[in-house]
Amino acid sequence: MTDPTLTTTWNLGTDGDDLYARLMAAHEGLTDDESARLNVRLVLLLMNHIGDRAVLEEAIAAARPSRPEPTNAT
């Protein structure tokens, strides 16, 4: 196991509450479908911004429920 590269300690300084509220505000007034699309766009934008395969692999693993992934995923 290599050293983890995903930052999982607090990294938002004093902006945490503001940013959380900002994220919730972005979803206000949207339908479930529009909210889902916003989340998808956000993931894609941040994935590209991070641009680090190891970090993203760890983030995906940390976010996914513990059920194993199907093996034929391509």
């Binding site: 889902a36 699309r37 998808v40 766009r41 894609l44 590209n48």
Partner: protein, 535 residues
Amino acid sequence: MPRYRSPVFPFVRPPELDGRAGRRWPVAIVGAGPVGLAAAIDLALAGIASVVIDESNVVSTGSRAICWSKRTLEIFDRLGVGDRMVAKGVTWKVGRLFHRDREVYAFDLLPEPGHKRPAFINLQQYYVEEYLIDRARDFPDLIELRFMSRVTDAGQDPDCAWVDVETPEGKYRLAADYVIACDGVRSTVRRSLGLDFIGRAFEERFLITDVEMAVEFPSERWFWFEPPFHDGQSALLHKQPDNIYRIDLQLGSGADPEEERRPERVIPRIRAMVGERPFEVDWISVYSFQCRRLARFVHDRVIFAGDSAHIVSPFGARGGNGGIQDVDNLCWKLATVLKGEGPPALLETYNTERVHGADENILNSARATSFMTPKSRMEHLFRDEVLALASTHPFARQLVNSGRLSRPCSLAGFSLGTAETSDLGGTMVPGAPCLDAPVRGANGEDGWLLDHLGGSFIALGFGALASTPPGVRGLTVGGSGDLQDPQGLLAARYDGAPSVVYLIRPDQHVAARFREPTVAEISRALARAQGSSNA
């Protein structure tokens, strides 16, 4: 322009039917498609005789494989048919992607000058087969084409492989040192050996058509996600010679193939796409995708190449091009073994190298198919939002996947290459397919590097080349050498400082590269590239 009419190839009664022992063939090739015909020609160029057995007496019906990649054209050049293919084909390198009624982006597949061949040509498979048959006829002593001859069974004994052949005038058994099964996705040889494909099949059905119409669409690949003119998920338009357009329409997983094949169903779909201009439907097919392969391509004396060994979804042009690269990889090895210049173990490297190539094609085409056929609501959302972001955020364009178009397969890291000890830069590492570059010959004529490579092992030396071991042809660049490098692109692409030497395989892949090698070093790399395990 008249629609294509195939030449008809007559049945010729073979000696076996009259009780005469036919000759013992070094190689029997099952299937006269592009892969089988290319194999016969490549073997003939190496002096190896083969018999090609095919159940039909005409070339392919319908356009089938149409996109021939730069690498395939380079192989066709080596086989002596490249010019004719390119002269007839539609050259293209730009693809446009649409989402609903707007263009998302366009891409250029060959942005760099200084290559003989374009990124792609479109040419119907029937032309490719016809031209290959014409070329095969240049070798009457080395290639025998047997039409209307259906292989019904195949097998092998320790000292030979055999096929049973059924013809209009009777049946016979034909023995050969090796059988190459180029008999396609429903391969009889594969079934005879009891072999199965492994991999994935996709439920989604696609309608694929050749439509003849007198319009001048640009020579580009146009692909729609959620096209405004069709209720399916995707559509593809490709221009072919003779005013024939290839139109692929995604139908969904519930489509009934028999129903969808009926002209009454197809014509309104095409009408919705092309509008009121007159057209005729030349060919209709309905298929579902598979991304599967044999576990192994080499089974002792029976060797699989092309669709009999591996099948991919068509978006990416990896079926026909993958098969031609199989031939390119296999035939010089088979010739080496048959001439006793290398061990039978050399054939095992065809297995490892082309299984690798097939896996690369399967991975890419499976991913494209997944992008085109999202299987859950969330996959669908991601797909749609990639397309939405792509129009405003250029990064997202590279996530759009309508097929990652066939690129030459690198064999870097495989056993035939000699590990690098030099500090040479650039991409021409051992295993890489050689890049083309403009060159000038000894008589001042302009040409291309790749036309000077292939067919045998070559030592490509920049500046002086001391000497080469037996079996290696020397080729020098610069000074008073064989080739000049008028634009400096050859040196740039090969990091070609004076005294740099490349050993190049008969299939135009780098086997080794050095600075100031001794003859012994080149000999060792040659032995290794010919499968000698103790090299």
